[in-house]
């Protein structure tokens, strides 16, 4: 059947290839910076590849690249989207990625005995807040009557899981397990959704040494779904709700498939979220490179927290190689607002924090919070002495690298000296949680026992 159709198809493809392989606009980028500024540091490895997951809180990486902060340090960085958090962890450990946007819990778990073990370090905390819990339309319609309403007839926030409790009982009575999604066993989202559920007396299930599913005695079955697939999984009916970072809560609002009920800002104000992670080996072999990377990321964080830059940041993030969601979706949470039910858009200036409140500084206390959570839910199966928490975190969180980078930035005039926190590497700010209990990293036990 060597028909003419073949030839037509062939010709069409040939034309297409010719059309796109042709002349390129030379003038377009002629004006780009012709000379590369000399960095004060001697960079051991200028060509780097970093990974990220499609979430708005990867913004410091995209900004540092697009605004030329990496190149200012003499770094040539490619950033690659990864498919899921497990893949990110493996590729950093195996050296295919030089560093990556990661869940705070991942480097900590890798050093504390849960999941794959490796020596990873965190010199930079990428952001505060930025997550939400979304439920499907069906669950929301059953939940809504239980939510107290304000004078304007709109639900009072923060919505507690108490409103969800009767819905879960309904599902249970009809023989259906109530399933929700989170992004990774050691992710902030897992702990946040557990915290939110547990505060209303709903048991989210325990981990043990033998059972790493975390579903023992569970009233809500939590399972792992990669962040960008959350809306599709919710739409398919596999899960009834999820806890995930932006823009995947707003995506559910825009697609009309779910309703965000709370944000992690309401669960724990200014909680640490993602971190930037490299292997200990990389940092030891390339100390100057590690500092240079941290410098570029701190500058990106600072740039991001100037409100007038946010619209530009949204534009950059909506490019297909970064987060790729539509601008309107990204803007909804990036520009100081958050939309709950369709039409119920509320002001939330601190929903994404990239620099304020020392957001970029890797506080030991933040790391210890994750360790207490791993202990609380049984991911660390046996009790540990108080000193263990501090010792473990000191190997992973590296404020010393952050300090060196920040001091250089102060010397170069990029940030004011007052932006370097005077601290014993414990975050002194009091923490606020949805159920009114507070957490102090110096006495992690009191918190676990509560």
């Amino acid at each position: 059947m060597k028909s003419i159709t073949t030839k037509i198809f062939g010709l069409g493809l040939l034309l297409a290839v010719l059309a796109c392989g042709g002349k390129t606009d030379k003038k377009a980028k002629e004006t780009a910076e012709a000379n590369i500024p000399e960095s004060t540091l001697e960079i051991e490895k200028p060509q780097l590849t970093f990974g990220f997951i499609k979430l708005t809180d990867m913004a410091p990486l995209a900004i540092a690249k697009e605004k030329g902060f990496f190149e200012d340090e003499g770094l040539f960085v490619s950033v690659e989207a990864q498919s899921n958090w497990k893949n990110v962890l493996d590729r950093v450990i195996d050296g295919q990625l030089d560093g990556s946007h990661m869940l705070s819990g991942q480097p900590i778990a890798a050093g504390a005995g849960f999941g794959r073990q490796a020596e990873l370090v965190t010199p930079f905390s990428m952001d505060l807040n930025g997550n939400g819990i979304t439920v499907s339309n069906d669950v929301w319609s059953k939940m809504k009557p239980n939510v107290p309403k304000g004078d304007d007839g709109k639900p009072v926030h923060p919505i507690k899981a108490d409103a969800l409790k009767p819905v879960i009982s309904d599902y249970k009575n009809s023989g259906k397990p109530f399933k929700m999604g989170m992004v990774f066993p050691v992710s902030t989202h897992n702990y946040e959704i557990r915290y939110w559920l547990a505060a209303a007396g709903i048991h989210p299930g325990m981990y043990t040494a033998d059972n790493v599913q975390g579903q023992i005695d569970a009233e809500v079955l939590l399972s792992v779904t990669p962040p960008p697939q959350m809306p599709a999984t919710l739409e398919a009916g596999t899960i009834y709700g999820y806890c995930v970072g932006e823009p995947w809560n707003q995506q559910a609002v825009f697609k009309g498939i779910g309703v965000p009920v709370t944000t992690n800002y309401d669960i724990w104000k200014n909680n640490p979220e993602k971190v930037f992670v490299m292997t200990k080996k990389f940092v030891e072999e390339n100390p100057n490179t590690a500092i240079a990377v941290t410098k570029a990321l701190i500058r990106a964080g600072k740039w991001l927290d100037e409100p007038e830059n946010r619209p530009e940041a949204v534009k950059i993030l909506s490019m297909p190689q970064y987060v790729g969601a539509d601008e309107v979706v990204l803007a909804n949470s990036m520009t100081g607002t958050f939309e709950f039910e369709k039409g119920d858009k509320r002001s939330m200036p601190d929903f994404n924090v990239f620099y304020k409140y020392n957001a970029t500084y890797p506080f030991y206390s933040d790391g210890i919070w994750f360790l207490t959570q791993m202990r609380r839910w049984g991911q660390i199966p046996e009790a540990k002495p108080a000193g263990w928490y501090e010792e473990t975190i000191k190997d992973i969180y590296r404020p010393d690298i952050w300090k060196k980078a920040a001091e250089l930035l102060v010397a170069e005039g990029h940030i004011p000296a007052s932006d370097i926190p005077v601290t014993d590497v414990y975050n002194p700010a009091p923490s606020y949680c949805i159920d009114g209990t507070t957490y102090n990293a110096n006495v992690p036990f009191g918190y676990i026992n509560s």
Partner: protein
């Protein structure tokens, strides 16, 4: 009745004559041009393409309306009439913030195709600028014996096509060099064929995903010390392993079913074992081997998408997956563009193999 027939006929003739004249002008070899073949080979396929696009357009429109109605209805029940009207107006205005997310129409897909091409031009320009920018630095680095800095941006859709083709050819060659020799050896001996039959039967139906994981386990350990990206190695080996079975089975079958007379001739001529393989067995089993290779190539192209997606190796597979993850307004139409490109490239690859097969085999009438 009769008249009209004759009129038709004369018209037909005129048309044919005109077409013939036009064709001869362009020196196209067309010994016997007749309308029927023209109809059958050009008009009918073109009409079917138009019909397909038409049906697609209507289907997409219907799905769009279902989604839009649902959205308006939902706004009505949740927020009242005003919100429903606003939603209807918003959908009609084509604003991105409220567009129903469903099967894209042919026009949208065409638009996305153009976007991707434009995007490719932007990236090519960017690449050139980057090259100029780093030229001095790279010279210095090379003189110091270090690796030059390479482009740090993302690959364009067109680049990804070539990466994918590259992976498929590497995988195909691997399959060729593994499957054909083993197939010949197995085909020559009944004992060996029986010995290895279970292995072929067990591994043949294994899913590409599992092959990928298996290759990943092995390659990861083998490349422990090197810092290079093993994603390409992993994906092309997986593609090769997935796709080689058809060639292996067909080669073994072709070799074992060579006409007894030929073998006897070889015996009479007292050919050595190597000569026997190259002069007698291989030529007569070529049609079957090529059928196997064609299947291998199309399987390779098919599994490639799944493998690239999982191995995070740049290419069409990861393009499709990234667009699915992006979930932007134009993501669906970009996925459809990729679908067509994948299909067309697969089709062309098959034609190329068929041409090669016709060139080398005795049987000049091999058909699809």
């Amino acid at each position: 009745m009769k008249q009209s027939v004759t009129v038709n006929k004369t018209q037909e003739l005129k048309l044919a004559g005109a077409a013939k004249a036009a064709l001869s002008k362009f020196k196209v070899k067309s010994p016997k041009f007749d309308l029927k073949t023209f109809l059958r080979k050009v008009i009918v396929p073109l009409a079917s393409i138009l019909l397909f696009i038409g049906l697609w357009h209507i289907g997409a429109k219907a799905l769009f309306n279902i989604e839009a109605d649902y959205k308006i209805q939902k706004a009505l029940t949740d927020q009242g009439q005003a919100a429903a009207n606003a939603m209807a107006a918003c959908i009609a205005s084509g604003d991105i913030s409220c567009q129903p997310n469903t099967l894209p129409s042919p026009a949208q897909v065409w638009e996305s195709f153009n976007t991707l091409i434009a995007d490719h031009k932007v990236i090519s320009a960017d690449k050139l600028a980057f090259k100029e920018k780093t030229a001095a630095l790279n010279e210095k680095r090379i003189s110091e014996g270090k690796d030059p800095i390479t482009y740090t941006g993302r690959p364009s859709f067109v680049d990804q096509n070539f990466t994918s083709l590259n992976t498929v050819f590497a995988g195909f060659l691997l399959a060729f060099f593994i499957a054909v020799p083993i197939g010949i050896i197995i085909g020559l001996s009944d004992t060996l064929r029986n010995a290895f039959n279970w292995l072929i039967q067990v591994f043949k139906p294994v899913s590409p995903v599992v092959w990928l994981l298996l290759v990943f386990m092995i390659v990861k350990t083998m490349t422990k010390d090197s810092n290079s990206d093993s994603a390409f190695i992993i994906s092309f080996i997986s593609v090769g392993l997935c796709a080689m079975w058809a060639t292996l089975v067909n080669t073994a079958m072709g070799v074992s079913s060579v006409d007894k007379d030929y073998i006897n001739v070889a015996k009479v001529l007292k050919l050595g074992p190597l000569q026997k393989v190259f002069k007698v067995i291989l030529p007569s089993s070529l049609p079957l081997i090529f059928t196997g290779l064609r299947i291998t190539l199309s399987v390779a192209w098919m599994v490639l998408i799944a493998i690239e997606l999982l191995a995070q190796s740049p290419g069409l597979g990861s393009f499709v997956w990234e667009e699915f993850q992006n979930g932007a307004n134009d993501s669906n139409s970009k996925i459809i563009v990729a679908m067509f490109i994948i299909g067309i490239i697969g089709f062309l690859l098959d034609r190329i193999m068929l041409t090669i097969q016709n060139m080398v085999s005795f049987n000049k009438n091999a058909t699809a």
